[in-house]
Symmetry: C2
Subunit: 278 residues, 2 copies
């Protein structure tokens, strides 16, 4: 792992780290914010970004570092897909499949299955690698994300009980088996057998018995993708049936952008920090 840039921001360092990923057969970069104010074995938040993003969007636009610095919380910010000339992309260059759109699953369909293994990359390679390299506490990790990354945060937390102390999301794709973005991605990466999709759909996971104690979600009511792609009402119904303590905040006037994320990231960081024992 090589630190390729390092900028001081608030009381800490915003770094970009490059490494070779075995899971993705790809050279990858991720963002890492390390506050000065920390103990050894510090807690961290894993942030999963949305469609079209790289590791950079959250680093430069969300201003999460201010509160992370205050709380002594590290921020780990992966890219959203494998990268490089040898990595196949959507033949039409669509924004919602292929590069920038890994959907946090391990693809089983060729030609995607060789590189598109973002789930295993994040869980089994990036998190252990970063934690070991930079002295993070693997027992105190929170997870959050936006849109496709909100889907990633919910599904990774639900399907790995105990791995994350807390989970939240901004405008998540709540039921990818029931929306165009999700159906395109899941059929492309996993094939047409819809039974294989359920492990990558937060609502289906909950229906099938997966549990987390509580979830925090912020959703802008002026989000253009709300009705067709995001469907928070399905998550609300699934949580209600399952007895999961969901706090779903419908935010009047806010849209799908990082302006929305920046406005509420402080609430999420403080919420996670309380659950991380901070």
């Amino acid at each position: 792992m090589e630190v390729v840039s390092s900028n001081r921001m608030f009381e800490g360092m915003q770094q970009v780290v490059e490494h070779r990923s075995e899971q993705l057969s790809s050279d990858m970069r991720y963002g890492l914010y390390l506050p000065d104010n920390y103990e050894d074995n510090r807690a961290s938040l894993l942030w999963l970004s949305g469609l079209t993003c790289t590791h950079e969007n959250f680093m430069t636009k969300a201003c999460a570092q201010r509160v992370a610095s205050e709380l002594g919380l590290a921020l780990i910010i992966p890219d959203t897909s494998p990268r490089g000339e040898n990595v196949p992309d959507d033949p039409q260059g669509a924004y919602d499949f292929g590069l920038g759109a890994g959907f946090y699953v391990d693809a089983t369909e060729p030609p995607w299955s060789e590189h598109y293994r973002m789930r295993s990359y994040v869980l089994d390679e990036l998190l252990p690698g970063v934690s070991s390299e930079f002295g993070l506490d693997t027992d105190r990790v929170a997870i959050s994300g936006h849109s496709m990354g909100g889907h990633g945060a919910l599904t990774l937390a639900l399907s790995n009980p105990g791995r994350f102390r807390s989970v939240s999301a901004f405008a998540p794709i709540c039921a990818p088996t029931q929306c165009p973005w999700g159906q395109k991605a899941l059929s492309g990466y996993l094939g047409d057998d819809r039974n294989t999709w359920r492990a990558h759909d937060a609502c289906a996971l909950i229906e099938d018995g997966a549990r987390v104690p509580e979830i925090l979600v912020d959703q802008g009511l002026d989000d253009d993708f709300l009705a067709e792609q995001l469907k928070p009402e399905l998550l609300e119904a699934a949580c209600e049936r399952a007895g999961i303590d969901l706090t779903l905040r419908r935010q009047r006037g806010y849209d799908h952008s990082y302006y929305f994320i920046a406005s509420f990231i402080e609430d999420h960081l403080r919420w996670h920090n309380r659950r991380l024992g901070g």
Copy 2:
């Protein structure tokens, strides 16, 4: 003036406005943040950006809107040069002259003199136009900026006594007549008579008698441009001789980026707000 985008952020709206500039003979865009929390005739901060920037950098990367919203302060964020196919650019496409590098002067040399009139644009067209269109108080305007825009903030405030209530800067080009960026820009836009340059150099203006009551400057000590281009020690000496109350904060570890600006913009906004009667 046409609002071309509007995103809710914190308790206010981040807008982009398009208009035809007579001064620049160019269609221009600027950023405007309007907090909900304001009185009629609200105070504002004019932010001038640095080399290569557009109106977007400060909007998306500085996260100034959080505190601006709390204080009820509008943010006015112009572009850094005229734009459009008919506007000449540096023949070699240099980043430090031409497009993205208007230097907040009115060019007198052809071919630049037709469009490159950023000083008159900001002072005589944009500020009055925005104030009238959006109900801002022209008596309560603060000015700040970064690098080339820090130069702009200092020189516009010094040469327009009473026009701005307060002036601050991040890593400003303090003495453009004495550094490569400034010498290239001033000779290109104004010609080789160095006497004409002095009106666009903060240190020379102060030597020639221009005064403001006080100045706040933040400067990162890990800024790659510090010694060759920025020279805050010259501003410090000029202010000391002139009896100007300069607060120059040398910030250890910080560089020239927006990570640095985001880290200290809150201090500047609160400092300005006290002087704006807020």
